[in-house]
Amino acid sequence: MTKIVIDVHGLGKRYALSHAHRPDSLKVWLRNAARQITSTDGQPASEEFWALKDISLQVHQGDCLALTGENGSGKSTLLKILSRIVAPTQGTVTIRGRVVSLLEVGAGFHPDLTGRENIFLNGAILGCPEPEVRRRFDQIVDFSGVERFLDTPVKYYSSGMYVRLAYSVAAHVDSEIQIVDEVLSVGDSGFQEKCLARITEYLRSGNTVIFVSHNTELVDRLSTRIARLESGILSALETRIVAGAPAPAGDTGKAECGSSADNSDLRQTWEGVDGSDGFRMYATYAKSSGGFPASTSEPITIGWHGELFEAIDQLIGAVEIRSHSGQVLVYCAYDDTLPPPTPTVVPGRFSWELTIPPDTLAEGIYEIVFDIGIHNIKRLVTDACKLRIQVTNPSGRGRRHPCDAWHSLMRPDWPWKRNDSPRSPL
């Protein structure tokens, strides 16, 4: 389905608070060096500070991810690592696609150059070659509304004009991913609306945006996912359903939409051809007697139709249930209860089904991912055939103590046993 454009894995960034690691002058550096040589333990006294610690998250194409958190929670550090301004201490980031980062509007503008000259300079810094800037020049100027002052050095610009021109350049540079720090809070409200419209259009054409904002209204309006950082740790990752949001690009499977119109990326069935080597997947589906969104108190059946063309030793057939934030909740293979070794599976047509018992999942949105593969060798299908279903709780079961919808991802009906010895009332 949608591809991962940014894959952050175990990211950490450490700063040394003490001057021992960050000498300002040769004197301090020499003194520290001398101390290190003469001291017995050889360790300079320094305090470590992790601005980010063990951050892992994946951003899919078409996502608009908002990073939230208090000042000093590590949002900007994360943006700076994604923009390659600072290097991570640990972990990796893999980015697929051209990135434009706007950590500060007009970084790289030179006050003595005219608006026209700065458009080209800033375009180059943002990775846009001159012919491309030339082609978009009129668009950029139009968007900024500073055409009268194009040949005036920007040092004579009002701050609003400066910001408008700077944002216009960045907004018109070709990219697949935009990384934006608190910069949309600039310009007058008319220009802000223009910027928001531009970002929405950008997202609609299948691009990805990561932004930091303290403006909750903006976060509500734009983001499809929210990552919350607290003291450098990813404390919450939430997927939101935005009214009228574009369906993620590449999501071309047949979608049987749920009752609510705003859950347009839900999908209970898939038909097509997926698979590799000797296996082909033709259809996957989720069924519930009451239809979708399914009730938590009804069983949900998940199944697939496929075909095997050559005998496979150690064939795996499994279903993975993932939460809205991508966390794997359940991995369930057809032969989990059978003793090893797995027998060889012979060619033929397959129709396998699995039932999730009632009262297992809590209210929410879940991804059903199919894992057909050869044990320890490779997976034979892709995520193209995965499903996304919604579960609601109309009966109110398990709601005697109401709590927030994402509070727990599973609500199994496990038996309780009470062994009380009530005291007689006084």
Binding site: Y15, R22, P23, D24, S25, L26, K27, W29, K80, I81, L82, S83, R84, I85, V86, A87, P88, T89, Q90, G91, T92, V93, T94, I95, R96, G97, R98, V99, S101, L103, E104, A107, G108, H110, D112, L113, E117, F120, L121, A124, I125, L126, G127, P129, E130, E176
Partner: protein
């Protein structure tokens, strides 16, 4: 940091905080060459905007230095005037390279610090900034040779076949300035002391470089330590190439200077690449 693959539609970038290889780094510098061009163009525009004499400044400053040195060393110190080459031309061959060196090195040194606001907000290979700072001065350096050409016209003097080596010495000098610039640019971000030290060293360097005099005036047993200044080989090489090789080819100085240039530049680039990922943290 490295580019893992290079398909036009979806470049894949891996950020892991590692030091880039020479090859990957230079590929990226090439991708961002437009930035270098823009920075050079910007600096040239800035330098001459709002100035009345504009480009004339380029020639005026070395000319004044030449006149002063001709006066100081030619008349006061009473150095030999009986040579077949006009004295001001000998001086010009030292002044123009020195003038370039003494501008390019501090500007290369300050380049990263002066662009810190850009470095902290946007990414492109940082070496571009230092290279551009040196390149702007290199362009002025090349233009400044017009002064020498005018001097030749004035004195009716024509350089000999040795002039073929002239561009090589110029390239070597530019590379040397780049190498020193890379060393100092990084050092200056880390230790601001460097910014105080270098102008002082340049003042000393002026007297240890054959600008107002010729290296042949240095006593025999001091020639070798004197040639440890890589500028000695370059300036004397330029004099040899433009002035008919009157003093003979300064082989030892040129060779030594070549080795020093290569060592300085290679280690400079290496150190720059190794420090670049931590640059913003160091500042």
């Amino acid at each position: 940091m490295q580019n893992v693959s290079h398909s036009p539609e979806a470049p894949v970038l891996l950020i892991d905080g590692s030091i880039p290889t020479f090859q990957n780094y230079f590929r990226e510098v090439w991708e961002f060459r437009a930035v270098a061009a823009m920075l050079i163009r910007r600096d040239l525009i800035i330098r001459f905007r709002q100035t009345y004499f504009g480009l004339a400044w380029l020639l005026f400053k070395p000319l004044m230095l030449t006149a002063t040195l001709t006066f100081a060393f030619g008349f006061l110190a009473g150095f030999e005037k009986s040579r077949e080459v006009p004295y001001p031309l000998i001086i010009l061959c030292g002044v123009i390279p020195w003038y370039f060196f003494s501008n390019a090195v501090p500007e290369g040194m300050n380049s990263l610090l002066a662009h810190l606001h850009i470095i902290q907000k946007t990414y492109f290979p940082r070496a571009i900034i230092t290279v551009a700072a040196v390149a702007v001065n290199a362009i002025e350096f090349l233009i400044a040779w017009l002064l020498f050409a005018l001097g030749c016209l004035w004195y009716g003097y024509l350089p000999g076949w040795q002039i073929v080596a002239f561009p090589l010495f110029c390239v070597q000098l530019v590379v040397l300035c780049g190498g020193i610039g890379m060393w100092l640019a990084v050092a200056n971000v880390q230790f601001r002391d460097v910014g105080n030290l270098v102008p002082f060293l340049l003042t000393i360097g002026f007297f240890l470089t054959p600008v107002g005099y010729s290296a042949s005036q240095i006593p025999e047993n001091w020639q070798l330590p004197y040639a440890l200044n890589p500028l000695v080989g370059i300036v004397e090489g330029i004099r040899w190439s433009l002035l008919h090789g009157t003093d003979g080819f300064p082989a030892v100085a040129v060779l030594l200077s070549l080795v020093l240039t290569l060592v300085t530049t290679l280690t400079g680039v290496r150190h720059f690449l190794a420090t670049e990922p931590r640059l913003v943290d160091l500042a």
